[in-house]
Every structure is written in structure tokens, then in C-alpha cells.
Symmetry: C3
Subunit: 349 residues, 3 copies
């Protein structure tokens, strides 16, 4: 905020490559906030028509709207008409946001790094992080406090490993990977030989390999393979509290939303979306571009671009048809009764 001229309505409109429409009643914008939270000197945005009703109530004098938004700005407000108001707004928010915390290169005095670990000179290792023997940490990678990196694990360049993460021995993390707090990479898969005397543990001797540009949410878990590799494909994004079983392979650019579970040895194609709290049983194949809707439970292979819902998961249209027919049941029963009485009347004749 050192250069207030950056924060005139015209300057902000230019920054979005948008067009200022109407007269903004303030000369300097001081912050950025949602329609509901914005104050009288904030910029805000409308991306989703769903929130159109908040426009009249917002205190913000300046609003990013889609280029072709049909309404003119009302008295006391100006629009910035721009291509992608949501994306443009993010750029403006970043002008006002405090800078992210500095994580300078170097190893904190209270970090515990084994003498055989290889830490890039530009990496940052936080206090109480523990790096075991022969681990490798790439350039500019940040390892935050309380995180454990196991023996022979390899972390690529430009990764951001938040506090209290555990990465077990020999696991491999790509470039530009973000692991949020509490993530566990490479815990043993859930495998036992069971008989009448109980369950004897099957050693879990493989590893986890995380591709480039992957992000994994807080307290999510990716189990190491029984042998071989549990693999998360490049560009796949995983939300919080997700469970990925041993020997699972996900494709590239999947979206795996919070609290999803994928059981062992299942293969997920490219660009698959698993919505919140969905589950997939083990040893299945889910085709490229499939969408598993929230809370659905997949119990058999899915073809590419399938869209499924329910438990057991079925084609979304099939599920909707079933639901529609179930809703008709009272009517069906009434019709049956009527037919019976008409028939009885006929028989009496």
C-alpha cells in the first residue's frame, strides 16, 4: 500500500484488463472482500449468478462483473467489466494481501538433520523438523517445523511441506508438490493374511511416488505399496482427510475431494473427479474423465466419462429414474386399489 496510485478504480480496472463502467464514488480502494463482507472502500466481484441478489446490498463501490453482465451499475457503484471476474479478483486480492511468511534458505538450529542427508543450499528446513539418513531435499523446497522425512526419501525442487507432515523411508516426491499439515505419505498399506488364528501382517515393502505439481490436503494419507509403487499422477489435486490405499495408481490432473477413500490396487484414469466422501473399492479401474458424485460408492469398473451416483454407484440417470419411480409408489398403490374395485364391480355384474 506504499503507492496509493496503484489503488484507484482506474488502476485496478487496468490491472484486470477490464473496462470501468460507471462512476466509482471513492478515489482509493483499500481492500478486497466478498459481496457480503465488503466495506465502503473495498473492491468485490460477482462471478456466480447465484449471488446476484447480494449486489444491491453490498457496500462495495467497485464490483468486477462479467463483460456481458446485462445490468448497468446503479447510482454510487461502478462495474469493472472483465473476462473472468473470479480470476481477476484473485489478482486484486493479492495486491492487498499480506505477503506470505518468509522462509529463507537454511537449516534452523533446532532442526535435526542426519549428516548423510543432502539438503539443497536454497532449501528451508524449519525448527524441530527431522530429516533422516540419506534423504534428499531439492532446491528452494520448504520443510516446515515438526515434519519428519524418512531415510532415503527424495523430495524434489520447489516443494512446500507444511508442519507435522510424515514422509516415510524411500518415498519419492516430485517438483512443486504441496503437502499440507498432517499429511502422511508412505504408511503401511492395510494388508493381512487372515485365518482362524487371526490376522498376520503382510509386509508393505513398496513406496509412494508423488508426481509433479501435486497438492495433498491436510491430514490426508497415501499408503506405501505392498511392493512396487503407489503412484499419484502429475497435476492431481487431493483435498483434506483423503485415504489412498496401497498400490493405488491415479492418473494425471484428477480432483479428489475431501474425505474420499480409494481402496487398495485400484487404478484411477486421467482427469477423474471424485467428489466429497465418495469411495472406490479395491482392484477396480476407473476410466479417464469419470465423475463420481458426492458420497457415491463405486463397486465395479467405470468406463471413461461415466457419471455415477449412489451406493452401489450407478449411472446418474439410472439413479434419477429409480428415484422418480419411487416417488410414484403412493400413486401406484392408489391405482391398484382403484383397479381392484373396478374389477370387483365388473365381476358382480
Amino acid at each position: 500500500m506504499s503507492q496509493p496510485s496503484l489503488f484507484t478504480p482506474a488502476a485496478l480496472a487496468a490491472k484486470t484488463a477490464g473496462r470501468l463502467d460507471g462512476l466509482c464514488p471513492v478515489e482509493t480502494i483499500t481492500g478486497a472482500a466478498s459481496l457480503a463482507d465488503a466495506g465502503p472502500t473495498d473492491v468485490t466481484f460477482l462471478a456466480n449468478e447465484k449471488y446476484g441478489h447480494l449486489l444491491s446490498a453490498t457496500q462495495a463501490p467497485l464490483v468486477l462483473v462479467p463483460v456481458d453482465y446485462p445490468e448497468p451499475p446503479p447510482q454510487g457503484k461502478a462495474w469493472v467489466r472483465c473476462q473472468n471476474p473470479s480470476k481477476a479478483f484473485t489478482a486484486l486480492v493479492m495486491l492487498f494481501a499480506p505477503p506470505p511468511p518468509a522462509r529463507p534458505a537454511g537449516i534452523h538450529l533446532a532442526a535435526v538433520v542426519d549428516a548423510t542427508a543432502r539438503i539443497a543450499a536454497s532449501a528451508h528446513i524449519g525448527a524441530c523438523a527431522v530429516i533422516a539418513a540419506n534423504a534428499v531435499i531439492g532446491e528452494r523446497t520448504i520443510v516446515m517445523p515438526g515434519t519428519f522425512i524418512g531415510e532415503n526419501a527424495v523430495i524434489g525442487d520447489d516443494c512446500l511441506i507444511y508442519p507435522n507432515v510424515t514422509i516415510r523411508e524411500r518415498c519419492i516426491i516430485g517438483q512443486r508438490v504441496i503437502l499440507h499439515p498432517g499429511v502422511v505419505i508412505g504408511a503401511d498399506g492395510f494388508g493381512y493374511d487372515s485365518d482362524a488364528t487371526g490376522h498376520s501382517k503382510i509386509p508393505q515393502l513398496g513406496i509412494v511416488e508423488i508426481g509433479d505439481d501435486v497438492e495433498i490436503g491436510a491430514n490426508s494419507c497415501v499408503d506405501r505399496a505392498r511392493f512396487g509403487v503407489t503412484r499419484i499422477g502429475d497435476g492431481t489435486k487431493i483435498d483434506n482427510l483423503v485415504q489412498i490405499g496401497h498400490n493405488v495408481v491415479t492418473g494425471k490432473a484428477c480432483m479428489i475431494v475431501a474425505q474420499v477413500g480409494i481402496a487398495g490396487s485400484t487404478t484411477i484414469g486421467n482427469g477423474v473427479v471424485l467428489a466429497g466422501q465418495a469411495g472406490v473399492v479395491g482392484h477396480l479401474k476407473v476410466g479417464d474423465g469419470a465423475i463420481v458424485m458426492a458420497k457415491a460408492g463405486v463397486t465395479k469398473d467405470l468406463p471413461p466419462k461415466a457419471v455415477v451416483f449412489g451406493m452401489p454407484a450407478a449411472d446418474r440417470r439410472e439413479f434419477a429414474r429409480d428415484a422418480m419411480f419411487i416417488r410414484k409408489l403412493p400413486e401406484i398403490c392408489a391405482t391398484l386399489k382403484k383397479l381392484q374395485s373396478e374389477l370387483d364391480a365388473l365381476k358382480k355384474q
Copy 2:
């Protein structure tokens, strides 16, 4: 247990403000346990009629029962008739329970506290806790080992932050808040701009603000807002392994049971109950006092005091009606067959 006279049946009855009914065969009670676990010198309690059958089998000579419990005490047992046996029993259990571990004021030598952090003199900071620049810790607040408090985070007075918690930069925690082990406050929300080339991260620039008297269970996650605030209202209680998405706002005094997920930008009213493993999709409003039953999946706005079940969640009565009609389907098919044959017989005539 230094003053055994405190532990006579009469003294314990007085402590509950209850009335001793019957003759207790032991002079000193030495412990407190459930009906099933109690030994011959323990006090126990009956709060839930469901457990009435355990009364005859319990070894406890002294039982807290509701004031109007219809049965008299059998030979060899005494009742304490009291207003709220469950609450009264808790008070007695605390007489026998070991005191909680001492957490004296001060910063452990093995804690890592940035020179710019402001730690109240009465606060306790445990070993291997890491407190970053400009963080503020209130009076009598306890921060246990292995916990990370990020830059500029503000923790109020009388909070209890258990081990291995992560609170990221700028988040704000109220007074008397309890965060159980492994909780993650302020991880990035799950937000991307997606197109054919993949998913590009939307910066998550906001914070989390936790109200007063909130309790959050082990390994639960509350994501920071995209911009603005993810807010947990005063007095709301959250169980273990719960996921709260970015920009969610919960009201006051909600109960959010284990493994619930609330997707981004949803607003939850006051006094809402979300039972175990329930889910709510994003951008919804759940009205005050609504009850979402276990495993239900809410896919549209709920009015105040709604009670819903199933996925997609529907009014509990609607769900029950559907289930009842589904149970009638075999009968419907039989009736259809019978009608058909009656009709066929009629046609032949």
C-alpha cells in the same frame, strides 16, 4: 483421597444434592465406574433406561438414579435419588479421578519461540512447540509439544492446544478454545481454476477465525478462506476427523459430529446438529436448529429446524414413507398378478 470422610455414601449423596434411599453395605466408597465395570466399593449411575437391565448385575453398592425412579433399592444396594444422575456422577468421578497433568506457566527450554512473538507470562509452551514471528498467545493458554503456531496468529486466553496441532499464519482463535491433537487450522482451501491444461491453484489469502468456547476434535481441519474469513461460531463443538471447507461460516452452539464434511462457502445457522459422517455440499444455507442425521448428504438449502436423512437428504418423514412403500413392492407385484389373472378370467367369459 486424603479425607476418607468425604467418601461415605451420605457425603457423596450430599455432594449430588440427592437423597440417600436404602442401606449401603459399605462405609467408604473408593471409586466410580459404569454399571458394568463397577466393583463392590464403587459408586455408579443409571441415566438411560436402556441400561436398566444392568442394575441387577452391577457389583456397585451405591447407584445414582433419577429422583422419580420407580423401583426401590434391592437388598445390599442403596440409591442416591438425584436430579441429573449423569451430571451428578461426573462430579463424583472427579473426586476420584487423578488430577489433570500440571502445565505450569513458562516456556520449555526445548520450545522454539520467535523473538517477536508475544507470549503471556501465565501461558505454558511445551517442548518442541514452535511459535512463529509476531504470534500472540493469551493468558493461561497451554500450547503442548510439537504444535506449530504460524506468523501473526492470535490465540486468546485460557485455550488448550494439544500436541501436534498446526495453526497457520494470521488465524485467530478466541477464548477458552480447545484444539485436540492433530487439528489443522488455516490450511489452504481446495480451489483451482480448471481447464483442458489442468488445474491452476487459486491463492487462498483469507484466514480462519474461531469463536469463544469452541472445541475441535482430533485431526479435524478448518481451511482458511479464499479471501475473507472461514468462521466457527461461539460455543460450537466439533468432533474428530471433521472437514470444514474454505469460507464456511457456522453459527453458534452447533454440534458437528465425527467425520462430517462441509464444503466451501456453505453457511450453517445457530444450533445446527450435523450427525456422524454427514456431508453438506458447497454454497448452501442450513437454517437454525436444523438436524442432519448420520450419513445424510445435504444438496440444497435447508429451512430452520429441518430434520433430514439420506442421500440426497430429504425430510425424515419423506424418507420413511419411501422406505415403507419400497417394502410393499413384493405385495404390489403379487396384487398386479392377481388382478391380471382375474381380468383374464373375466375376459374369457
Copy 3:
């Protein structure tokens, strides 16, 4: 790999107590991998008929198959016919696997151990582990970095406690127990006295007691009892992200798969299987050997050996019957329409 003669096909076959069938084209096997991943000098195995189609494509020259596998080995491959190919393969994999990381006896200089804790001489305590007053750690037990062991907690012999685990005060862990990273033992149960003014916390004064040979997966939680004990029976195996409520008692040798939740005071018999994402409400009894299928929600007591599915969970056959009838609904509606028109025609005559 120092003694290559150990790795001839014949030596490997002998190791499995199996019979070599066919001529293996390589003299020394250099690794072990799955059918799909194996290279031209690896051994692999076929345990599940489901993967038979991969046999023709695998590059592995040596395959463990069941004793009675009907096909002869094709040109360029040899079978090892053996009793349990999966188990036998694990033994071979261990020949090739890197040894597990060494965890020598002793307390790391950067561990923080209270002077009153009793640590067995053969135990390993990692860096930044914190052991509180009067805790007891058994012989050969490994406590990894960042783990917190609370006051008066007792850990048995030969346990493996991974990083960033939290075990709260007074909890008791048996022998040969494995706790994966992020596990939380003994957090407060979720209990409140609620009225119009809000929710007041019920103290959670009991403990958790974990039996022998129990394994608990990453980021799973077992809450301490309100009073008395939350108990996990000997030999029970728990996967990742599981929630066990206060005062739950599980029997011996149960299998509790990822993301299951068991609410407070429920009793689970011996040998029960709870499949992924299943839930059980509070205060129930689940009989010995019951199977709760994936995502099922148990809302009433289950008899021994029950097999249930759905929410609310019902006998698997009942659920299948309902589903079959629902699928018939379009046909039912069509029949109704036809009957109506036949009847109308008849009435006109």
C-alpha cells in the same frame, strides 16, 4: 544380494517350498514385482484369478502360481507351483527389499524425556519425541520423531510408534502394537450436557487401553472414555482415518477399514469386519463375526455373523431384494397401464 546363488530360480522355488515347473530363461533373478510391473529378470506371482489375463503380458520369466494351476508354463517362462503364492511371494520380496531403517537402542539427544519417565534400555526414542512425567516405555519399543507420550502412559514391549503420534496421559498400550503416523490415542470423547444456553463439556476422565498385536492406521483416533476404559481388543487391526468414540469396546481380531466411525459406548464383538466408510451409531452391540459392508450405517444391534449393507443397514439379501424390486418399477407401471386399458375395454362391452 551378496550371495547371488540364493537367487537362482531353483533356490527361490526351494525357499517357497514349491515345485519348479518349466525352464526359466534367466539364471539369476534380480527383483520381485507385480505381474504388470515386473521386468525380464524379476519373479512375480499370480494369486487372484482376476489377474490371469496379465500372465501372457508379464515380462517376468518366473511366476509363483497355485499348486493346482491348470495351465502349463508357456515358452520362455517357468512356474513355481506353491501352496500360497501371495504369502510365498512376500517372503521372496523380503529377500530383495532394502532392510528397514535401523532404530538402535537409546534416546536421541534432541528427544525430550522427563526425568521421571522409565524408558527401557533397549528402547529407541527419536529426535523431538517428547515423553512426559512417569510414562513407561517397554523393551525394544521404538518411538519416532515428533511423537508425544503423555503423563503416566504405559507402552508395552516391541511396539512401533511412528512420527507425530499423540498418546495422552494414563493411556495403556499393549505389546507389539503398531501406531502409524498421526494417530491420536486418548483425546477427549465428544460429550456435552446441552440445554438452551449451549453445550457444557462433560469431563472425559477415563483412558484408552489398546490390547496386544493391535495395529492402528495413520491419522486414526481412539477417544478416551468418559470414565472407565475405551478398549481395543487383542489382534484388532484398524486402517487409516478411523474414528473410535469414547467407551467403545472392540473384541479381538476385528478388521476396521479406512474412514470407519464407531460412535460412543458401542460394543463390537470378536472377529467383526467393518468395511470402508461404514459407521455404527452409539450404544449398540455388534455380534461376533458380523460383517458391515462398505459405507453401511448400522443403527441397531446386530446378531453374530450378520452381514449388512445400506443406510440404515439391513440384511444384505433384504437390500438386494429391495433393489431388484425397484428395478421392476417401470415394468410395474406399464402393467398397471395395460390392466387399466383392458379393464376399460371390458367395461365398454
